[in-house]
């Protein structure tokens, strides 16, 4: 279980890193290595060149509040995301999603930037950031840009990042009157997740004003349940609307199947999680 040979770069600046990645087609940035290194060791993915980015000043872990926006730097680990006070306070769905990633060792190393850049529908944080309408901060050889998370995931392992672009962080506007929940089902912490759901709803007097729902392992990319979100708007949250939302969120899904979950079973789990997330928010509101 050893990787094929590769060339390791340690650039001095972010710009240098971008240029390296741009000019070397088969080069990949290395963040926490918790997705990249296992794939390299299993020899299912073997980039010829690796560009270290974790040491660059712009990438350093950190979470800060800028007005009504939370900014999270790319190298912030899952463990830090889980325990950060700002995130727990304003973006609990993200904190819960980070807490539910794999085991402690992996949460100590894996980063939010890597989790999103991976473009994998089974990454917890992608569902949470979809629910939070985050913006991805990308830096390329020609400068910075912000990519709305809705436009970020293109296909399995394929994102909107252009050649040479590196994720430096994320911006999330603090949602108002928001209730959030993340739920996941897995057979073992370190196994491929069976399904997960991230919900962020704005409530006013028990009526849903706005809703964003992220679904994990539901399609080739992380996706939102847009139809269900639309349905939920201006509805009272109750048993009937919850059932209907879950139904709408999952009825057209064609999730992937594997040894641990058939597509039908996964669909069922997404439906159940959807209901459970909303029910638990309903409970919260009642209290």
């Amino acid at each position: 279980m050893r990787p094929r040979p590769f060339l390791l770069h340690r650039p001095n600046t972010l710009k240098e890193a971008s240029e390296l990645l741009y000019s070397h087609e088969d080069a990949k940035p290395l963040a926490g290595g918790q997705s990249l290194i296992p794939m390299m060791k299993l020899r299912i993915y073997s980039p010829e060149e690796i560009v270290m980015i974790g040491h660059l000043p712009e990438m350093q872990p950190g979470v800060k509040q800028e007005g009504s926006t939370i900014v999270i730097n790319s190298m912030t680990t899952h463990d830090m995301v889980h325990h950060n006070e700002l995130i727990s306070e304003y973006l609990p769905v993200l904190s819960e999603a980070a807490a539910a990633i794999a085991d402690q060792q992996i949460r100590n190393r894996g980063t939010i930037g890597g989790n999103i850049a991976h473009g994998d529908p089974s990454t917890n944080l992608s569902a949470a950031l979809l629910a939070l309408d985050a913006k991805v901060l990308a830096s390329g050889k020609d400068g910075q840009r912000e990519i709305p998370i809705d436009e970020f995931f293109l296909d399995l392992f394929t994102t909107a990042l252009e050649p040479g672009e590196i994720i430096t962080g994320f911006k999330v506007d603090i949602p108002k009157n928001s209730r959030q929940k993340f739920m996941k089902i897995t057979r073992s912490d370190t196994a491929f997740p069976l399904a997960f759901v991230a919900v962020n709803i704005q409530l006013s007097d028990g009526v849903v004003k706005d809703a964003r729902i992220g679904l994990g392992v539901a399609a080739p990319t992380p996706i939102r349940a847009t139809e269900a979100e639309e349905y939920l708007k201006n509805k009272q949250l109750n048993q009937e609307t919850i059932l209907k939302t879950a139904e709408m969120a999952t009825k057209d899904l064609e999730p992937p199947g594997d040894v641990h979950a058939s597509p039908e079973y996964r669909k069922n789990l997404l439906n159940v999680l959807m209901k459970r997330c909303l029910n638990s928010l309903l409970e919260e509101v009642k209290q």
Partner: protein
């Protein structure tokens, strides 16, 4: 020291109260070593100039090898050699087969010859200057395959027209044997009910934390190969290897490092790796190392026996089972490497824990395109125990009785002990009813039955399952003669060596190697007891070395035998040494031996209070030897080989033999809740009551039982080697092959009731394997939970995915 031919040693005292050091929960000092990363494992052994080996593996379940092109591989800088099956075939004999012809004609080499027969089978071995290059180079071996039809199911493999794995055999049958014990047919005829069903056990792996590995060096000066390995029975594997390589065993030095990271049976058939690495080290005149990666270990590092039973039980109206009639088909995988031993090992527990004297078993084993099977904790008995536990529930269902009641009715009674089973196994004491009732109390069985009624009203799925299993230990090799009367082994033996060094420290060694079972502490306690001296005065030397260690051909830690076998050998060796020590002391002190006793690292006189420290006695024995009694051999070393009497030592024409020396037993009870929406299964309560016999160290016994319980939970709810119809293993790494860890362990309520073993010298029973107790109780509990949905379970492995599909099929 002259050896006495016959050992006359009184049996150990009857009660634990008589012991000072044995029977106490002495803290296990050696546990800290691996936890602190200080262990010395195989991969920590480093020899300068070592070359590294990697395998090229088969991507097919069954295919003809048309051509192997090694040219690209050999071009890679750093590559020293590429070995293929063709070369091996020209230079070695196929491994000896346990089964007689025709299946004994099977040709088994450590690298595929002409054909690959399972996914992950080694096809070529590449040697390079480091492990990275070796793995790169292994990818460059260009093998041209022609895929062949695949058979993965054992029953299919035995059908006419099935693809045949081994042409030299002609079909896929490894061995078939019929046990016709008592009169099962008559029992069925006279029964009030015949309860019939099919039971399946699934395939999972041993998965030790440390995978298998080998480091071999060749010493040209003495034409000897030194092998460092983790083989569980090195001196038993050695003739298999030497026979194949046509070398005398004395030209092989077998070494095991001080630490082995678990084995669970999975480090026996690794002799294939040893053969290849040894061959290469001699050929290349260089040290060669190979350590299995995790996927290799999961693909072919020993799978357990997958088995299907078609069973009919003869049952009386009152719930008594009077006979059992069954056909069992066992899936051996591609090569019988310890098999078909598993085709008789189950017979250690023919009636399970129940008093059933009429049993008919028609047992066949077949080769299939899956990884090779071999011993995995609970080897071959887990399957049989599971069958009984599933069938007992079927009886309860048929008669509309409580499954606890059915079991109570059929358990062997304390007054029947020692109990001679229909195949002449001698269950060595115990009180099964007491253990069973204790378990029911422990898990609050009655209360949960009430709760279950309430829960069902609310749509909750709660189930309670029971399982009562025999965990036989310390095997009698003669049982293999049932398969092949010419199999050159019978009985069992183990060696103990106790000596006193020049400064008076007691030193102990045995032929078994610790894999995490706390041998140093347990064995130290035995020597302490005999010398009536604290464990600080005893050193147990771990590791194995065939040229300096004591060993017997059966030496090793497997089959739950270390405490029973090595413990007894050490006990005898220590007693012998003590006799000599007392003789020397009597001479030195001018007293009668009968007035002396060993105590606190000295010999003291009960009459005069005079005291001679062991250090002084050691000086006399090792250095100041002219002061020894006349005619006494100098030195303080004693050695004992323990060979137990199994009473029925050899199988008769009805295949009856006492297969093992001890039969511990355990009762498991599980309460589960199944989520009616996700079908996830949660253990709400799990209780175990076992009878390990006398416990030399209760902490160590508890550790073994806990481990076996977790292993069973993992087998039932997680671990599954799943193959597709092309024979591709879908779960070949930890991403898909799920293994329970501490986090998956529910709180376990564990109790022991102790009755001494009537057959082992120290009164202990082997408890290393556990008999797969939790597998039966979990599956029974889940089926019980699902009763409102009318779902019937078949297999020993459960997944929510499967339950969901069952629930939604109807």
């Amino acid at each position: 020291m002259p050896q006495k031919a016959e050992l006359v040693v009184e049996k150990a005292p009857e009660t634990t109260a008589a012991f000072k050091y044995m029977g106490t929960p002495v803290k296990v000092a050696e546990d800290l070593i691996p936890l602190q990363g200080k262990g010395q494992y195989l991969d920590d052994v480093e020899i300068p100039g070592t070359l590294y080996m990697a395998y090229t593996l088969s991507p097919y379940g069954h295919a003809k090898i048309k051509k192997i092109d090694t040219s690209k591989c050999l071009e890679l800088p750093g590559v020293h050699y590429v070995l293929t099956g063709e070369e091996l075939k020209a230079n070695m004999d196929p491994y000896m087969q346990i089964a007689p012809p025709p299946s004994g004609n099977l040709k088994d080499y450590p690298l595929a010859v002409d054909k690959v027969r399972y996914y992950g089978e080694p096809v070529a071995a590449v040697v390079a200057s480091n492990a990275y290059i070796a793995e790169d180079a292994a990818e460059l071996v260009d093998v041209e395959y022609e895929p062949l039809p695949v058979v993965t199911d054992a029953e299919d493999a035995l059908k006419e027209g099935s693809p045949v794995l081994h042409d030299s055999v002609g079909n896929n049958l490894v061995w078939r044997g019929v046990w016709d014990l008592g009169d099962a047919e008559k029992a069925l005829k006279e029964a009030d009910y015949v309860v019939e069903d099919t039971v399946k056990t699934h395939r999972y792996a041993a998965v030790p934390l440390e995978t298998s590995g080998v480091l071999a060096t060749y010493d040209q000066s003495v034409d000897t190969i030194t092998v460092y390995s983790v083989n569980q029975m090195p001196m038993f594997s050695l003739p298999i290897i030497c026979g194949a390589l046509r070398m005398p065993p004395s030209k092989f030095r077998m070494i095991l490092p001080p630490n082995v990271g678990g084995a669970f049976g999975g480090k026996i058939i690794n002799f294939t790796h040893i053969t290849v690495v040894a061959y290469l080290s001699k050929l290349l005149k260089a040290p060669v190392k190979y350590v299995e990666n995790r996927s290799e270990n999961i693909m072919s590092g020993t799978h357990n026996n997958e088995r299907i039973f078609h069973v009919k039980l003869a049952v009386r109206k009152d719930g008594r089972v009077t006979g059992a009639y069954m056909k069992a088909v066992d899936n051996c995988g591609a090569y019988p490497r310890y098999e078909p031993a598993g085709a008789v090992i189950w017979a250690q527990v023919v009636p399970g824990i129940y008093d059933v004297q009429n049993v008919y078993v028609d047992f066949s084993q077949a080769t299939t395109n899956k990884g090779p099977t071999g011993p995995v904790r609970g080897y071959s008995r887990i399957q049989h125990n599971f069958m009984w536990e599933r069938m007992m529930n079927r009886v309860a269902q048929k008669l509309n009785m409580d499954p606890a009641e059915v079991r109570r009715l059929n358990l062997i009674k304390a007054e029947q002990m020692p109990y001679e089973g229909p195949s002449r196994t001698i269950y060595d004491g115990g009180d099964y009813h007491k253990a069973f009732d204790t378990l029911l109390d422990t898990i609050e069985y009655g209360k949960w039955r009430e709760k279950q009624k309430e829960a069902r009203k609310q749509g909750k799925l709660i189930g309670i399952g029971l399982s009562a299993v025999i965990d036989s230990g310390a095997n009698n090799f003669a049982q293999v003669k049932i398969i092949n009367p010419h199999f050159p082994a019978s009985g069992s033996m183990e060696v103990g060596l106790v000596m006193i060094d020049q400064f008076g420290t007691l030193v102990a060694r045995t032929g078994t190697t610790d894999q995490g079972q706390s041998h140093a502490t347990t064995f130290g306690q035995i020597v302490s007891e005999v010398f009536n001296t604290g464990p600080e005065n005893v050193v147990f030397q771990q590791g194995f070395d065939s040229i300096s260690n004591v060993w017997a051909a059966f030496s090793g830690a497997y089959a739950s035998r270390s405490a029973v076998m090595a413990g007894t050998a050490l006990y005898y060796a220590a007693i012998r040494l003590k006799e000599k020590v007392l003789t020397i002391a009597a001479h030195a002190l001018g007293e009668l031996e009968s007035d002396l006793e060993a105590k606190d690292a000295a010999v003291v006189s009960m009459k005069t209070d005079k005291k001679l420290p062991l250090g002084d006695i050691a000086t006399l024995a090792w250095l100041d030897v002219n002061k020894l009694p006349e005619d006494m051999e100098p030195g303080l070393v004693s050695y004992a080989v323990y060979k137990p009497d199994f009473t029925y030592n050899m199988p008769d024409e009805k295949k009856r033999v006492n297969n093992t020396l001890t039969y511990s037993y355990a009762i498991h009870g599980t309460v589960v809740e199944v989520d009616p929406e996700t079908y996830e299964m949660k253990i709400l309560k799990h209780g175990v009551v076992s009878d390990p016999g006398f416990m030399i160290n209760p902490l160590v016994v508890e550790g073994q039982e806990m481990g076996a319980t977790l292993h069973g939970i993992s087998a039932a709810l997680m671990e599954n080697l799943e193959y597709d119809e092309d024979g591709i293993l879908l779960t070949s790494n930890f991403w898909d092959y799920l293994v329970a860890g501490a986090k998956h362990m529910p709180d376990i309520d564990m109790k022991t009731i102790v009755t001494r073993s009537t057959s082992s010298v120290l009164g202990v029973r082997g408890v290393g394997e556990g008999g797969g107790g939790p597998i039966g109780s979990i599956v029974n509990a889940v089926e019980d939970a699902l009763q409102p949905l009318g779902i019937k379970l078949l297999s020993s492995n459960l997944s929510a995915n499967e339950l969901y599909s069952k629930a939604n099929k109807k």
